[in-house]
Symmetry: C2
Subunit: 238 residues, 2 copies
DNA sequence: CTTCACGCGTCAACGCCGTTGACATAAGGT
DNA sequence: ACCTTATGTCAACGGCGTTGACGCGTGAAG
C-alpha cells in the first residue's frame, strides 16, 4: 500500500498503542538506533522494532513506506551526528584527519545503516555542509582548485570506502563475524612455510594487525602524500 | 546438520538431478555469479539458485554448509579472477598498482557480487594466494615485517573499500543511480556563492571529477607515501 | 456538548526466506 | 552381485517483510 504514510507535518491525531506509548518518526528512528546499538545488527527487524516500541509491528508502515525507507531515515540521522560540533583548527592535515575519523567511527557505530546507504549521494543539507567544509580546508591550505577537487574526491571516497567495508564486517551476524575474524588465527596462522612463506613468516603480526581497521594508517598515508604534493607545488611556484 | 557436506576432493559418486544436470562446487558458484549478474543481488537465494540449476534447492547443502558458505565461495572466486594471470615484475610500486587496479576493476565488473561478498574474509585458496603475493611484494621491496603487514592492511582494505563503494554505485537501480549522479550538476552546481563559497568556486571541476572513481589517485598517494617511508627507513638504517 | 470522519493501531494472512530430518536411489569398490 | 554411502528429493518449521480489512477513539465542526 502506498498511501498508508501520512507526512509527518500533517499528522494530527495521536492514538496511543496498546501499551500506552505514542509513536512518531522521531521515536521510531531513535528506538531503531538504540536497538542496533544494544543488540547488534540482527536485531533490526520490523517485528522486533514493533516489540521494542510496544506497538504492533505493522504500525510502522504508517510512518515509513518500507523497511528500507526506515533505514534511510536512520542513515540520514547519522550524517548529521557525524558532523555535529566540528570546527576547523587551521591545521589542514589535523582537520582532515579529524573529519575522516569522525565519519569512519560514526558509520561504524551504526553499521547496517552505513552498509545500506553509505554509498549514496544525497545532496541534502548535511552532505552539502560536509563537502563545503572539506573543500574549504583544502583550498585554504593552498591547493589550487583542480588539485583540491581531486584530493577531495580521493579523501572522501577513501573514508566512505573504509567506513562501508568496516561497517559491513561489523554488521555480520554473530557466527559469520566470528568466523571471518577467526580466519587469521585458525587458518592463515597454520599455512605451511613451503606453500605460503610470506604469510607464515608474518602470521603473528597479521593476526594482530587484521583485528583492527586499516583506515588510520591509510588516512595518514594519503595526507602525507598530499602534503608532499603541496610542498612540491609551492617549491615550483616560488 | 553439519556433516552433510563432503569435501570436494573426496567426492566420488555423481548422481544427476531430476533435470539431468550434474552438480559440483564449480557449477554452483558459476551459476550464482550468473544469477547475480543477470538478476541483481536480491536474486541470490537458495531456492532460486536451485531453480536455476535445475535441482532441488536443498541439494546445495550437500556442497555448502550454509548459504553464507556459498557466498564466501563466490567471493573467493572473484578474488581468483582478479589475480588470474598476474606476475610480479620486480618493481614493487608497479606491482602493487597493478594488483590494486585489477581488484578494483574485477569487483566493479561484478558489482552485485562485490556488494554482497566483497568485504568477507574467506580464508580460501584464492584469497590466501593474494595475501601471499602482496606480502611477498612488500617484503621483497625491503619493508620490515611489522611495516609490511601494516601497509598490506591499508593497501588491501583501501582497494576493497573503493571497489565496494564504486560497485555499489554501479549496482544501483537505474533511476536511483541517475539521481545520485545528477546531484552534482542539479544541486551542488547551483548552490549560492554566499552559503557555499567553496563548492560554488569549484562546481564545474567537481561535476567532472565526481563522474569517475577516486581510486587511482588514492592508490598513487598511498604508494607514494609508502615509498617515502621506505626511503626514510633505509636512510636511517644505513 | 454532540456528532462524525478518518488517522492509525491491530489482526490475520500471504508468500518469501534459510534450514533440517527423513527418505529414496543409484554409483562404485569389493 | 552386493552393500555402503554419497547425493538428490521432499515435507515441514519458524522467521521475515508486507498487505488488506477492521474498528477504536480523537479532534474538529456545528
Amino acid at each position: 500500500m502506498n498511501d498508508r504514510v501520512v507526512p509527518e507535518a500533517q499528522r494530527r491525531r495521536r492514538k496511543p498503542t496498546k501499551s500506552g506509548t505514542v509513536l512518531s518518526e522521531e521515536v521510531i528512528v531513535e528506538t531503531a538506533l538504540r536497538l542496533l546499538a544494544q543488540h547488534g545488527s540482527e536485531a533490526l527487524t520490523v517485528r522486533r522494532l514493533g516489540l521494542a516500541l510496544g506497538a504492533d509491528p505493522t504500525a510502522l508502515y504508517r510512518y515509513f513506506r518500507t523497511a528500507d525507507d526506515l533505514l534511510l531515515a536512520v542513515a540520514d540521522e547519522l550524517i548529521g551526528r557525524a558532523q555535529c560540533g566540528w570546527e576547523p583548527t587551521g591545521d589542514w592535515q589535523a582537520d582532515l584527519r579529524a573529519i575522516g575519523l569522525r565519519i569512519h567511527s560514526c558509520y561504524r557505530s551504526h553499521p547496517q545503516a552505513a552498509r545500506l546507504a553509505g554509498y549514496r549521494t544525497t545532496g541534502r543539507r548535511h552532505e552539502a555542509a560536509a563537502v563545503e567544509n572539506i573543500l574549504g580546508v583544502l583550498r585554504r591550505a593552498g591547493f589550487p582548485d583542480p588539485e583540491a577537487v581531486r584530493i577531495y574526491h580521493a579523501f572522501v571516497d577513501q573514508g566512505l570506502g573504509f567506513a562501508i567495508l568496516d561497517a559491513a564486517a561489523d554488521a555480520l551476524p554473530g557466527p559469520a563475524r566470528q568466523a571471518d575474524e577467526g580466519v587469521w588465527q585458525e587458518r592463515y596462522a597454520r599455512l605451511s612455510t613451503h606453500t605460503h612463506p610470506n604469510i607464515a613468516a608474518t602470521a603473528g603480526l597479521l593476526t594482530r594487525e587484521m583485528a583492527g581497521s586499516g583506515y588510520p594508517l591509510a588516512l595518514d598515508l594519503l595526507l602525507a602524500a598530499a602534503a608532499a604534493r603541496l610542498a612540491l607545488l609551492r617549491g615550483e611556484g616560488v
